[in-house]
Symmetry: D2
Amino acid sequence: MVHSDVAVGLIGAGRIGTSHAQVIAERVPGARLLAVCDPRVEATRSLAARFGARAVTDPTELITHPDVEAVVIAASSTAHAELVTAAAAAGKAVFCEKPAAMSLAEADHSLAAVEAAGVPFQVGFNRRFGSDFRAARSVIAGGGIGTPQLLRSLTRDPGLANPGAVPPWTIFTQTLIHDFDTLNWFNSGSEPVEVYATADALVAPEYKAAGLLDTAVVLITYDNGARAVAEASFSASYGYDVRGEVFGSAGMVTAGDGRRTAMVLRDQHGLHQQTARGDVELMLDTYTAEFVEFVTAVREKREPSVTGRDARRALAVALACITSYQQHAPVAITDGGVPR
Amino acid sequence: MVHSDVAVGLIGAGRIGTSHAQVIAERVPGARLLAVCDPRVEATRSLAARFGARAVTDPTELITHPDVEAVVIAASSTAHAELVTAAAAAGKAVFCEKPAAMSLAEADHSLAAVEAAGVPFQVGFNRRFGSDFRAARSVIAGGGIGTPQLLRSLTRDPGLANPGAVPPWTIFTQTLIHDFDTLNWFNSGSEPVEVYATADALVAPEYKAAGLLDTAVVLITYDNGARAVAEASFSASYGYDVRGEVFGSAGMVTAGDGRRTAMVLRDQHGLHQQTARGDVELMLDTYTAEFVEFVTAVREKREPSVTGRDARRALAVALACITSYQQHAPVAITDGGVPR
Amino acid sequence: MVHSDVAVGLIGAGRIGTSHAQVIAERVPGARLLAVCDPRVEATRSLAARFGARAVTDPTELITHPDVEAVVIAASSTAHAELVTAAAAAGKAVFCEKPAAMSLAEADHSLAAVEAAGVPFQVGFNRRFGSDFRAARSVIAGGGIGTPQLLRSLTRDPGLANPGAVPPWTIFTQTLIHDFDTLNWFNSGSEPVEVYATADALVAPEYKAAGLLDTAVVLITYDNGARAVAEASFSASYGYDVRGEVFGSAGMVTAGDGRRTAMVLRDQHGLHQQTARGDVELMLDTYTAEFVEFVTAVREKREPSVTGRDARRALAVALACITSYQQHAPVAITDGGVPR
Amino acid sequence: MVHSDVAVGLIGAGRIGTSHAQVIAERVPGARLLAVCDPRVEATRSLAARFGARAVTDPTELITHPDVEAVVIAASSTAHAELVTAAAAAGKAVFCEKPAAMSLAEADHSLAAVEAAGVPFQVGFNRRFGSDFRAARSVIAGGGIGTPQLLRSLTRDPGLANPGAVPPWTIFTQTLIHDFDTLNWFNSGSEPVEVYATADALVAPEYKAAGLLDTAVVLITYDNGARAVAEASFSASYGYDVRGEVFGSAGMVTAGDGRRTAMVLRDQHGLHQQTARGDVELMLDTYTAEFVEFVTAVREKREPSVTGRDARRALAVALACITSYQQHAPVAITDGGVPR
C-alpha cells in the first residue's frame, strides 16, 4: 500500500530553512514540500521553485491552508513560540527548530496549545538522530555503562561570519541548548538541578561590549549526582565538531568524530584525514533522520520521540546559564527552571 | 526550474533489485520508479505496490514501454548482456548490475549496441561512489601519493547462505569483479597485463567438488609495473568488509573501515565499536550516489562516469583469473583479455 | 666516554616506590639504585634485595649517606615537603612525588631550601613525559593551534581498593593535581585565576560522610581568558584513562587513548581493542622518561624541565578547589594561590 | 636475589649492531655488554667505549672469551651461519640476526651445531615481540578468529639510501623473511607448501639491470588451505610501515599502525597524526622485548620462543620466492624447502 505523501509547509527560507526544504523534498520518503513562507519574497520564490512548492509570504496563509498537514518552523527564534501556538491551534502537526520558545512562560503557553490540539509536536534537537549519538544512547539505555556519572557534550561551530548580528545569549539559547538536550537525553530519568556557567568573547573580543559571548563552558549537576560539562565555541578552524561522552559506573561511550570519510592519507608529513566543514555536511543524514521521525509520527498520529517538554527542559538550563553568568555563581534549577 | 522525474523501469525483483527499487523511489531526487519486471509474479506485485509502480512480467514490455526512459537491470547475470542490448536498441538509458556480460564477446556485442544507440550506459560498480573510495581516488588523481606501486582491494561478504546455489566462478565474475574495477580505477591510465589467481573452498569445503570457490587471492600486474592484490571471502563473521589501499612513490591512501557508526564503547572488556553487517547497511549511501550519477547522466544525456568499457576491462581480469586458476599459472591479459 | 652512574636513594617502598625502584634500576641508563628506605622493614629489605640495593629505615641516614647523589621521595604525601627540605639541605638532587607539599607555606619553605642549596629539584608530574602529551605540547608551543581557548584534562583511575583509607581532598591534591599541572603546562605563559569545583561520592557513596570524594569536575579560568575543565573519577571500569585536549584559535590537539596495543580484533560482536588496565601498564615509558630527565638534569647540574614552582602553581589550584567546594562558589586564585 | 648479569659479546658494529648494543646495555635488565667485535676498528672502539665494553677485532677472540656467555651476531648476512656454528661449538648461547643462513644446507649445518651443543639459539625475528603482533597471535592461539584463511604481512621501509649496495634477492632473504616468519607464526601448526612471487624495481628502476628488486608481492599457500600475501617496498615516504592481518572463520585481527604517538592534531587542513620514521623509532620496545626473551632464555637454560627451525622455515620460503621469480611460476616448498 502506498500512502499519500504528508504535505509540509515550511516557514523560514534562511540557511537552515533551505536545508530543511531540500531534506524534506528529496530525502524523506512520504513527505512533500507543499509551500514555503518567508517575508523575503525573492528568496522564497526561488526556494519554492527549486522544489516545485508554492511561495507564500503570510505565515497565517500557510498555516491555515487546507492542504498543509504539517508545519515546519525555521523562522527567527523570537517568532517560534507564537507560530507553534498558531499551527497547533489550526490542528496542524508541528516541527519547530530550537529554541521552541524564548522564555518558560512562552514555552508553557505553546505547550498548552499543542496539548489542547492533540497534534504531534517535534523540536529540532537533531543530535538525537545522529547514528553515533543514537547508538550511544542505546548502549546507555541498555545498561552498558552502568549509572552515568560524568557527561560531556560540545558544539564547535566553524565560523562566526557576522559577530555583530549575533543576539545576546545566543551561545546558551541557540547553540548550547543542543548540548543541554543531549545531556538530558543521555542521562534520562534524572533532572538537571544546578548550573554553573562561564563564558567569554575570545574569538571576537571586540564584540564583547555589545554582548557577544562566543566561548562558554557550563557545568550541570543532575539529581542522580551526575555532573555534565557542556562546551561551545563559535570558531572551530578544523570544521564542525559535535561530540558526546558519557562515563558511568560500568563503562564509557563516546560519539562524534568529525571525519568527512573513512579515507586515510599517509605521506611524508604523517597521517591525514579530512574533517567535515559545516553542519549540513556533517549532519545531512541526521537532519534526514529527524524528518523521517517527524513524518512517521504525523502518519501514525503519535507524539514524536523528542517533545515540547524536552525543549522546555533544555530551555530551563539555558536560562539558568544566563543567570549564572550574570551572578557569577551556581544557580539552582527549580520546577520550571526558574532560578531560586 | 523543476525537471520532470526520470521514469525508471527495473528488471529484477530479487535482493539487490529490491534495494535498488527503494533507493530509486526514496533516495534519488529526480527519479521515479515506474515499473518493476520479474518472472516471479507475486514478488513483483508486492515490490511494485510498495513504491506505487506497475508490475510487469515481460521484460520486453517494460523495455519498450513509451514512458520508461531508463532501464535498470538487476536480473540474473546470464541475462544481463542481452537485456542491455535490447534496452539500448529501444533507445533507453541503461544501468546494468555487474557483470554486464559473461564473456568478452557478449560484452562487445552489447557495447556495440549501446554505442550505436548513443544512450547513457552505466555499470553497477558501486564502490566508485563510496565517499571514502572517491576521496582516495581524488587524492591519487591529484598526485597525493605519487605513482601507484602496490594496490589492494578486498571484499569479505558476511555469509554464504546457500552454497549449493552459487554458480561456478562466482567469486571471480560476481564478487572480485568489484575489486578488479576498483583497482583499475585507482590505477587509471594503466592496464592490467597479467593475473595469477589462487582460490579454494575453505568456508564450505563440502561444496568444492561441485565447483564452489569461496576464498580467493588474485595478484595483478599492471603495465606501469604496479602490483595489485585482490582478495575475497564469502564468510566474514564480523560483517561486510570492503577495503582499498594504494601505496605509491609519495604516500598511501586507504579506504573502508566497516564501522557502523563513530560510537565507541569502553567497558571492562576493552574498547568496542559496532561493525556494519550487510552490504545494504554498509553501502546505502553508496548505492544512492551511483543512482544519482545515473539519473544525472540521463538528464544531461552524457556518458556516466563508469562505463561499459570499464565493465569489459574488469571482466577481462575475471576471465583471466579462471584460466589462471585452471592452469595453476600466471596468465597474460592481451587485447580483449584473451589469455595468451 | 662512560659516566659513572648517578647513585639514587629511594624513600618509600609502597606501590609507586616499588615501580620507581624498578624503573630506576632497570630502565634508566646512567642511574643506579643505591638504597631504599621505608619504615616497613620487611618490604624494604625485599625491594632492596630485588635490585641489589641497601635497605635503610631512617630517611636521614639515606639522605646523608655520602654515596647518595640523588634522593627520590615516594613516601606519604604529608612527609614530602620536610624530606625535600632535608635532602636539599644535604646538597642532594631531589625528585619528589606529587604533591610536593600540602600547603603553600610548606611549598614555599621547601622551595627556599632548594634554591638556597642550588640543587636540581623535579616533581613527579609524569604526564609531561608521555609521548603523546609531549607531542601535543610541542604542537601548541609551535603555534599549531593558535591561542588556547578551551582545555580539558582528565584522570580516571580504575579502582578504589580501600575507600576508607583515602584521606580527605585526595581527589584534588593527589589526583587532579596532575591535571592542573597538565593544564598549566599546556597553557604556558598564562596563570590560573579562578576555580569552580564540584565533587561527590558517586562510586562509594557510603564513605561520603567520612569525607571521601571520588568524582570531581573543576572549571578553571586563566588570565588569557582560556577555560579549562579537569575531571577525575576513582572508578574507571575500562582501565586507566588519562587524556588531554586543547582547542585554540587555529586548531585542536588531543592526547591519550588508553589502548594497550595497536591490535584490533573484529568478530561477530564487532570491533574490539584492549585497554590499559593500570597506571604502571599505561605509563611505564612515561615513568622512565621522567627519570631519564631527572638523571640527565643531575648530571648536567641544571634545573629539570618540571620544577618546584610548577608544583606550587598546581597546588594553589588544588587548594582553591577545596575552598570552592566548601563555599559552593567560584574562588579566585590570587598571588600564592591564597583564596580571596 | 640478584642475578649476576649475562655477559654479552656483540659481533657487528653497523647500524643494527649499534642499536642492539644500546638496547642490551641500557634497556635489558640482567644483561651486560662485555665486548663488541667488528673489523672496522674505529667504529668498534667508539661503540664499545660508549657502553663501557671492550673492542675486539677478531670474532674468534670474542666467541672464545671465557667471560662471554652469550654471542649476539649482527655481522653481514653471509657470515651468519658460520658464526652461529662457531659460537655454539664454543658452548655459548647465540642470538643471530636474520637470515640465520643463506642456504638450507648452511642452516642445517649450524642447526646441527646448536643442537649438539645444547645452547639457547634465538633468531632476530623481532616482529614476534611487538606488543600488537603478540596480542594478535594470542587472540589467534586462543581461537578468537577461528581457523586462519587469509593472512597478510607487509614491510615498507622508508628509504633506499644506497641502491647500488643492495645485494641481489635482499628483498626476499632480508626483508620479506620477517613477513614469512610472521605469517608462519600467525598460522602456526601449518606449513607453507607453495609460493608465487612477483617483484620489480619500481623505486630505483635504473638499478634493476644490476639485480635490485625493491618492490615485491608474494602469495603463499599453506597446507591448511590458508593463503597469505607478503608485500615489501623499499620506499615508504610516510615512515616505517609494518603490519599484519589474519582473517579466519570467526573473525579478523590486525596489527601495526605506524603512528608515532596517540596525539591527534586537527587544523584547517583536517586531522593529522605523526608517523614513525625509522625501524628503530617504531620498534625500540620490540627490540628490547626480543633481547629480554633472549637473556631470560639464557638464564633459564631453555630454548628461546623463536628458534633456528623457525629461521629455516622462513628461509625456505624466501629461497622458493627466488625460484618462483626466476621461473615466473608457482613453486612448491617440499621438505627442506627445496623447490620441486
